[in-house]
C-alpha cells in the first residue's frame, strides 16, 4: 500500500506500546483497577505518582457506585415515575463519570503528557482497563 507522508504525519509521535491496567475484582463487581505498577513504565513514571492516579480513580468510581441515601432516593423516585425520570435527569453516576473525565484530562496535561504518555479514560474501553499509551521518545536533545 503506497503511503503518502504529509507533514502532519511526521509531527505526530509514534506509538511505541500500550500498557493495560486490568480490573481488580477482589471486592466484587465494583469498579476498581489494580494498583500494581507496570514494569514498562519504569523509565518514564514514578511508582508513587502512578499509584496516586489509580487510587484517585478508584475512589471516584467507588463514589459513583456508592450505596447511600442519595442514590436510594434517586432510585425510589425513578421507580415511582416508571423510570421516565431518567430521560430528563442526569444520574449521579453520569455526573461522576464527567468528573472522572475531567480528572483524567487534568492528569494527562500535568503529569502524563510531559512524559510522553497518554491515559485513556476507562469508559472508552468499557470500564475494563486503563489504557496507557507510551509514545516513542522522538525528542532529539531535549534531555528529558
Amino acid at each position: 500500500m503506497a503511503e503518502t507522508h504529509s507533514l502532519q504525519d511526521l509531527q505526530q509521535p509514534a506509538v511505541s506500546s500500550k500498557v493495560f491496567v486490568q480490573r481488580d475484582y477482589g471486592s466484587g463487581t465494583t469498579c476498581r483497577f489494580q494498583t500494581k505498577f507496570p514494569s514498562e513504565l519504569d523509565s518514564r513514571l514514578d511508582k508513587q505518582q502512578f499509584e496516586e492516579t489509580i487510587q484517585t480513580l478508584n475512589n471516584l468510581y467507588a463514589e459513583a457506585e456508592k450505596l447511600g441515601g442519595k442514590s436510594y432516593l434517586e432510585g425510589c423516585l425513578a421507580c415511582l415515575t416508571a423510570y421516565t425520570i431518567f430521560l430528563c435527569m442526569e444520574t449521579h453516576y453520569e455526573k461522576m463519570l464527567k468528573k472522572i473525565a475531567r480528572f483524567i484530562k487534568d492528569q494527562n496535561e500535568k503529569i502524563y503528557a510531559p512524559r510522553g504518555l497518554l491515559l485513556t479514560d476507562p469508559i472508552e474501553r468499557g470500564l475494563r482497563v486503563v489504557e496507557i499509551t507510551i509514545f516513542e521518545d522522538r525528542s532529539v536533545g531535549s534531555g528529558r
Binding site: M1, Y25, G26, Y72, Y83, F86, G126, L127, V129, E131
Partner: protein, 389 residues
C-alpha cells in the same frame, strides 16, 4: 519515462485527489467506502453484536424480536377490552376508582415493558485488538496459536470466595464476574440474568429493575383485571340470570377471562421467583447453574450478597444505574477507520459465525478469523485455517 532525481509519485497510487486537506488516513485501500467515510459515522453502525438500532442508535433491541409483538398485543387487547366492556358497568355499580387503578397499572406495564426491551442490558464492548494482543501475550507462552487453545480461566478471590473468570473467545477478554455471553445477541452482558423472548432482549444489569417492575406490575394488572371481570360477571349473573347470559351480554369479558386465567399463574410465579432472586442478590443464570448453592459439597456462599434482604433489594432495584458502556451515538474517530474497516469485514461473516454457533454450540472457533479475503493487514491471531474443529 525518464528517471529523474526526485521520486515521481504514481498518480494511480494516490487516493481520490480532489480534497487537498484529507484527514491524514489513507483511503487508498477503502475503495468504495471512501464516500461513506466522508460522513462521520456513529459507533452503533459498526457494532459487532447481533442487535438492531433505531432512532439513530437511541433504541437497541436484539436481532430476533422474539414474541415482543405478541406480549404487547396481549396486554393492549386485554386492557382495551377491560376499559371498553367492564369499566362502564363497574363504574356504574361499584366505584370510579377502578378505571383509574387500571389505567395507572396499564401505563406502568407498558412503559416498563418498552424500557426493558429498548434499553442496553449492560453489554460489554469487545476488546480492542491491542487489548486482545496484550491478554494473549500474558497467557500464551508457546507463541503458537494455530490450534484451538483449551478454555482459559482465571481465578480471583471475591469476599473470601474463589470465583472463576472465563475467557470469552468472541469478545476476546476475560469476562468480569457475573458476566455471561448471550449467544442470541452475541454480546457479553454484565450481571446476565437471562435472555427473555417475551421482551425480545437480554435482561442484565442495566434493565433488570425495569424487567422486575414490569413483571410485578403485570401480575398486579392481570390479577386486577381478573378480579374485576369476575366481579362484573358475577354482578351481571345475579338475580338468577346465569353465567351464560352474562357472557352473552359482555363477550369481551370472556376473552379477558381466558387470557388472564392462563397467564396470572405463570406471571405470579415468575414475580415470586424474581423477588426471591432480588432478595438474595442472585441472577437466574447463577440460580439455574447452582453456582452458590453448595451442591458440590463445598462451603460456598454468594459473595455478592449484602447478607441482608432489605439491603439486597435496595441495591438491586434502587442502586445506582450505570450508563451504557457501548456509547452507541458516539462518533467513530477518524484515525480508527482502519480498525473499523476490519470490523466491517467481520460483519459479513456474522452469518457464518451464527452457523458455527448453531452447529458447534460455542463461539470458540472464532479467533479473529476472516472468511473474506481481507485487504487489511493481518490482525493478531488471524489465520486462514478457520474451519478447525
Amino acid at each position: 519515462m525518464k528517471k529523474c532525481e526526485y521520486q515521481q509519485i504514481d498518480p494511480r497510487a494516490l487516493p481520490t485527489p480532489t480534497p487537498p486537506h484529507h484527514r491524514g488516513d489513507d483511503d487508498g485501500g477503502g475503495g468504495g467506502k471512501s464516500d461513506e467515510l466522508k460522513r462521520p459515522r456513529r459507533k452503533w453502525e459498526v457494532f459487532p453484536g447481533k442487535n438492531r438500532f433505531y432512532c439513530g442508535g437511541r433504541i437497541i433491541v436484539a436481532r430476533q424480536s422474539g414474541v415482543l409483538p405478541l406480549t404487547l398485543g396481549l396486554i393492549l387487547v386485554t386492557s382495551g377490552l377491560f376499559f371498553m366492556f367492564d369499566c362502564p358497568f363497574l363504574v356504574k355499580h361499584l366505584t370510579s376508582c377502578i378505571p383509574v387503578v387500571g389505567g395507572v397499572l396499564f401505563v406502568f406495564v407498558v412503559i416498563t415493558l418498552l424500557q426493558t426491551s429498548f434499553t442496553d442490558p449492560g453489554i460489554l464492548p469487545r476488546a480492542t485488538p491491542d487489548e486482545a494482543a496484550d491478554i494473549e501475550k500474558q497467557i500464551d507462552n508457546t507463541g503458537n496459536a494455530s490450534y484451538r487453545p483449551p478454555p482459559r480461566t482465571k481465578e480471583v478471590l471475591i469476599n473470601q470466595q474463589v470465583v472463576k473468570l472465563k475467557y470469552c473467545f468472541t469478545c476476546k477478554m476475560f469476562r468480569p464476574p457475573r458476566t455471561s455471553h448471550c449467544s442470541l445477541c452475541d454480546n457479553c452482558v454484565e450481571r446476565f440474568d437471562h435472555h427473555c423472548p417475551w421482551v425480545g432482549n437480554c435482561v442484565g444489569k442495566r434493565n433488570y429493575r425495569f424487567f422486575y417492575t414490569f413483571i410485578v406490575s403485570l401480575s398486579f394488572l392481570t390479577a386486577f383485571i381478573f378480579g374485576c371481570v369476575t366481579t362484573h360477571l358475577a354482578l351481571r349473573a345475579q338475580g338468577g340470570k346465569g353465567l351464560v347470559f352474562a357472557l352473552q351480554e359482555s363477550p369481551g369479558s370472556a376473552v379477558e377471562l381466558v387470557i388472564c386465567f392462563f397467564s396470572v399463574w405463570s406471571i405470579l410465579g415468575l414475580s415470586g421467583f424474581h423477588t426471591y432472586l432480588v432478595a438474595s442478590n442472585l441472577t437466574t443464570n447463577e440460580d439455574i447453574k447452582g453456582s452458590w448453592s453448595g451442591k458440590s459439597g463445598e462451603d460456598v456462599t454468594n459473595p455478592y450478597s449484602h447478607k441482608n434482604i432489605f439491603i439486597n433489594c435496595c441495591y438491586v432495584l434502587c442502586g445506582p444505574l450505570p450508563p451504557s458502556l457501548i456509547d452507541r451515538r458516539g462518533f467513530l474517530p477518524a484515525d480508527e477507520s482502519a480498525q473499523t474497516s476490519g470490523a466491517d469485514i467481520e460483519v459479513p461473516t456474522v452469518a457464518t459465525k451464527s452457523e458455527i454457533n448453531v452447529v458447534g454450540g460455542s463461539s470458540q472457533l472464532v479467533n479473529g478469523t476472516q472468511e473474506a479475503p481481507s485487504p487489511v493487514p493481518a490482525l493478531p491471531n488471524s489465520h486462514h485455517d478457520s474451519s478447525s474443529a
